[in-house]
């Protein structure tokens, strides 16, 4: 069998290294490099689709597993595999990267080679994060991912790019180094119990950790993930990074990077430290609900479209965290579904806002108005994505939010009802922005002659719109593969919680 998982991150990495070898000092080969990088990015997408096709949805086990010793002295393995939780996130990464690359063709016109190299390296690291089952390997990808993103924001971003890039890097690192200590602590605990070091996640799952220690380790892991999500009050890096990043960077940031945080909660924080998770879950959920409402309120008053979308992410990811905290099948399935849906719809929003700002070099809502008649096709696409983001039934956002609310209600109706307010608010800020940008008279003369979507832009927008529809109409297609794994996860966390509660 082909080592599909290794291919999925090695192909973009190899592509990035290959692009480095092409001489392009004067920008003469920009066109070649653009096509080449798009081709390279489509290859891992094909690989991720092959993963999906070959995935056995009835099994909760990790599949496509590859395991080789890497640093035997510490029991570190190159150990990768996917289950229903990570599979679709990998597919999402493969899906969004070519779209993001395509979107950069109109806006990135200097140092195209380096841009493509960083984008592909970023993709490799992101896929690596989702497929790693060895904590060391995971941490390597987790940290390595920061470097290309830092360069993408810092070199090709907007005015405040340097500030935003450094803030992004330092915030994320500050969280992840504490996780590093906790990872080392876990490995040490394991060696104290069994005599050998290991960073193998599956072995560490079986480790029995004292409740007091669980608390600390849970906090160390969760703060790292909460910063990434970002959970209120760790979210302040996000508006800067999202707004200052180039469009392609924002698409990836919102589409994939944020999901690493929620994925980490699901994969590491909750199953590794179930008892601490039970203790902290209400607090996390409280922060999540605050984030949902706070993000929505702040989004409402933003004059800048990109910033509005950025804050809407804080709100939407709050739903995801709420679903995870509920830790029942509906909640977790909804959370994963919402992760995917948010990747598609918010990725799409950043793409469309980027398209607009490429044309007008401004993203202020007040600078627009009446675009409906000027750019009808653009307006149609924007409508679909906006409604998807709000969570209109029949589009992708609805399924996730509905399941999360269901799960949250079964767990604690108070959180569910507070989060319900967020659903309403999201309709308010999205539709209000939509109205101000697209309806009314054309207030600025420059806007009267804006060109509609070009074929290349369609190539990026169309798959996203289609995906929003498919995910809304055929949710089973996506819920099926994750079902077994989610069941197993919820059972494991719950069982350990009751077991430990009984023995105490």
């Amino acid at each position: 069998m082909m080592p599909l998982l290794s291919l999925s991150w090695l192909v973009p990495l190899a592509g990035a290294l290959m692009l480095l070898l092409i001489g392009n000092a004067d920008g003469r080969r920009d066109g070649l490099i653009r096509w080449l990088s798009l081709g390279v990015a489509l290859a891992p997408f094909a690989v991720t689709l092959a993963l999906w096709a070959g995935f056995d949805a009835t099994s909760a086990e990790f599949q496509f597993v590859e395991r080789y010793p890497w640093i035997p002295a510490f029991g570190i393995h190159y150990f990768v595999g996917v289950d229903g939780i990570s599979l679709l996130l990998v597919v999402l990464t493969g899906f969004l990267t070519p779209i993001a690359l395509l979107s950069s063709w109109g806006s990135i016109d200097r140092k195209v080679k380096e841009f493509s190299v960083f984008m592909l390296a970023l993709e490799a690291a992101m896929i690596g994060v989702f497929v790693s089952l060895d904590l060391f390997l995971f941490y390597v990808f987790w940290d390595a991912m920061l470097v290309p993103m830092y360069f993408l924001i810092g070199i090709w971003g907007y005015d405040q790019r340097i500030y935003a890039a450094i803030k992004f890097m330092l915030y994320t690192m500050a969280g992840s180094v504490l996780m590093l200590i906790a990872i080392l602590g876990l490995a040490y605990l394991y060696s104290a119990a069994t005599g050998t070091y290991t960073f193998d996640l599956l072995k560490l799952y079986t480790l029995d950790i004292a409740p007091q220690t669980q608390m600390w380790f849970f906090l160390a892991f969760t703060v790292a993930f909460a910063i990434k999500v970002p959970l209120f009050p760790f979210h302040t890096w996000l508006p800067d990074a999202h707004v200052e990043a180039p469009t392609a960077g924002s698409v990836i940031l919102a589409g994939v990077l944020l999901k690493m945080g929620t994925y980490g909660l699901l994969r590491f924080s909750f199953p590794l430290f179930p008892q601490a998770a039970a203790y902290f879950a209400p607090w996390l959920a409280l922060l999540a609900v605050i984030g949902i409402i706070y993000g929505a309120l702040v989004a409402m008053v933003q004059p800048d479209m990109k910033k509005l979308v950025a804050y809407s992410s804080v709100s939407h990811l709050g739903f995801v965290v709420l679903g995870i905290c509920a830790m029942n099948v509906q909640g977790v399935q909804g959370a994963i579904y919402q992760m995917l849906a948010h990747g598609v719809s918010t990725g799409g929003l950043f793409l469309l806002v980027g398209t607009l700002s490429d044309r007008r070099h401004t993203r202020l809502i007040g600078e627009f108005g009446g675009l409906k008649d000027v750019m009808p096709r653009f307006t149609a696409a924007f409508t679909i994505i906006t409604l998807a983001s709000i969570g209109l039934p029949g589009l992708n956002g609805f399924v996730g939010e509905f399941l999360i609310m269901l799960g949250a209600f079964r767990w604690d109706p108070r959180f569910a009802s507070a989060a319900g307010l967020g659903v309403i608010l999201s309709a308010v800020y999205m539709l209000w922005m939509f109205q101000r940008v697209f309806y009314g008279p054309v207030t600025h003369e420059e806007n009267a002659t804006l060109p509609d979507l070009r074929p290349r832009e369609w190539a990026g927008v169309l798959p996203l719109c289609a995906m929003a529809l498919v995910m809304g109409i055929f949710p089973t297609l996506f819920l099926k593969p994750m079902e077994a794994s989610v069941d197993a996860l919820v059972q494991r966390v719950r069982a350990t919680q009751t077991l430990q509660a009984n023995t105490r």
Partner: protein, 480 residues
């Protein structure tokens, strides 16, 4: 091949012979004759490397005071790498700045002799002699540009404070000798352990004095005052040499003395070293943030790295000892390469070592900027580089010894340090093009080769560290 009792000194001897050959060549050359004396140094260092490999696992001892155990040999190989890279970076610098070629290379090689001796010494007096050999050579190297007032000042300051620290160290030796009747490390350990000296205050005085001496050499806070000035004043390549070579040698001796002879008293000295480590990491990074001169910034950075090494010393377990060795290797290659970049980009009249000089380097010298970025990321401890594995190793030592607090200080300061390493990256890649660096028309081929080799090693150690990790673990297995 190695049967006599001189086996253990062979690596040192190779370098010493090369140094003498360089001195001789300098003395007898015609006035305008240009001899490739740097090459002689490389030959000698290669001899040292080969003999170290042959001596591996043999535990050879010469005169009872020089031991070529695996620990010493590992450090010797690190020092050989430092030496080779230094010579390669030096060759364009010596020509450009018009440094006295013969003297320069001879001093570098003599310093290396002292360093190797220090790493393999098993007797406090030999450690002291080694310390003096390397120190004297490095004092002169610091001030080798006599036309530069900064360098002269730096050399003088370094000399004065270094002399002080030597006195402390010697005084510590005297106390130790007075208590145990020997200067041999193995005998001191046995004797002190047998006598249950732990309630004797004099042993604490002895330990304290030795500690001060070592702390000066590894520039641990609060004994670091000389470091920023000396590092900034010296030519960049010399700074790279001393910030890696001297530190490696001093740490080897420090580890040997404190983790073998004085191991029984670790309850007494561990809390102090804990404080030194924490203060060194914190001050090195926090003050580093405020620097605008790249050399000075890297000076503070290397102070901070001394702190990380001290963490391994505090942990004092098997993991910690091996971690020190691996970290020394990773740090030496990375730091030397970073200073190599500064050296290669300098000019005779303008060191080009202000942070703003690097504005837009990406556009003028993309390859150098990329290599520098890798060095900086490795210093900051980001994967997949050598620096990441080094930090991982050191902190896992701390965690497995239960020093969670120290590990947390360590990782948090390394985040702060990333901030100032990134400032350089920001300058090179992101800042708007200001007054461009007066880049030399051509970056020397030898220098670039050394840089590329360093980067290859950095990635190799970062991605496939197994070989180096195993060697480091094997090195400490024999003696401690």
């Amino acid at each position: 091949m190695f049967d006599s009792s001189l086996d253990a000194v062979v690596p040192m001897l190779c370098v010493a012979l090369a140094a003498l050959a360089v001195t001789g060549a300098e003395a007898f050359r015609a006035h305008d004759e240009n001899m490739p004396v740097g090459g002689l140094g490389i030959v000698g260092l290669t001899g040292a490397a080969v003999s170290s490999v042959l001596l591996w696992n043999r535990n050879a001892t010469s005169f009872g005071v020089i031991v070529a155990d695996n620990f010493g040999l590992f450090v010797t190989v690190v020092l050989v790498i430092v030496g080779v890279l230094t010579i390669m970076f030096s060759s364009p610098v010596v020509r450009r700045d018009g440094l006295p070629k013969g003297e320069y290379y001879a001093l570098v090689l003599f310093a290396l002799v002292g360093m190797i001796m220090m790493a393999t010494a098993n007797d406090l007096l030999v450690v002291f002699i080694a310390l003096e050999i390397l120190s004297l050579a490095v004092y002169v190297l610091t001030g080798i540009r006599r036309d530069d007032p900064r360098a002269t000042e730096a050399a003088f300051k370094y000399f004065l404070l270094g002399a002080f620290s030597s006195a402390f160290f010697l005084y510590g030796i005297a106390f130790t000798y007075g208590l145990s009747g020997s200067t041999r490390l193995d005998r001191i350990g046995v004797y002190l352990a047998a006598q249950s000296m732990s309630d004797n205050p004099l042993i604490l005085v002895a330990i304290g004095l030795l500690l001060v001496g070592f702390a000066f050499k590894i520039s641990a806070v609060p004994f670091h005052m000389w470091t920023p000035d000396a590092y900034q004043g010296a030519p960049a390549v010399v700074t790279g040499f001393m910030s890696t070579g001297v530190k490696a040698a001093a740490f080897a001796a420090f580890t040997r003395v404190f983790l073998s002879a004085l191991e029984p008293f670790s309850a007494d000295w561990a809390p102090i070293v804990w404080l030194l480590a924490a203060a060194t990491m914190i001050l090195g990074t926090v003050v580093g943030v405020a620097q605008t001169n790249l050399k000075r910034m890297l000076a503070y950075s290397s102070i901070a790295h001394g702190g990380y090494l001290l963490v391994g010393l505090v942990a004092a377990n098997q993991v910690g000892k091996a971690a020190i060795l691996f970290y020394l290797l990773a740090y030496a290659v990375t730091n030397l390469a970073a200073f190599g970049v500064i050296a290669l980009l300098g000019a005779r009249d303008d060191a080009n070592d202000e942070l703003r000089d690097y504005t837009g380097l990406w556009h003028t010298r993309p390859a150098v900027a990329a290599l520098m970025t890798v060095c900086l990321l490795s210093l900051g401890g980001l994967p997949p580089t050598a620096g990441f594995i080094g930090k991982w190793y050191v902190f896992s030592a701390a965690v497995s010894a239960g020093y969670y607090g120290l590990a947390i200080i360590g990782v948090l300061t390394s985040v702060v340090s990333v901030f100032f390493y990134l400032r350089v990256v920001v300058m090179m890649y992101m800042a708007d093009r200001g007054p461009a660096l007066a880049v030399p028309a051509r970056v020397s081929g030898v220098g670039m080769a050394a840089l590329v080799a360093s980067i290859v090693v950095i990635f190799y150690l970062g991605i496939l560290p197994t070989l180096a990790l195993d060697l480091a673990a094997a090195s400490i297995a024999t003696i401690f």
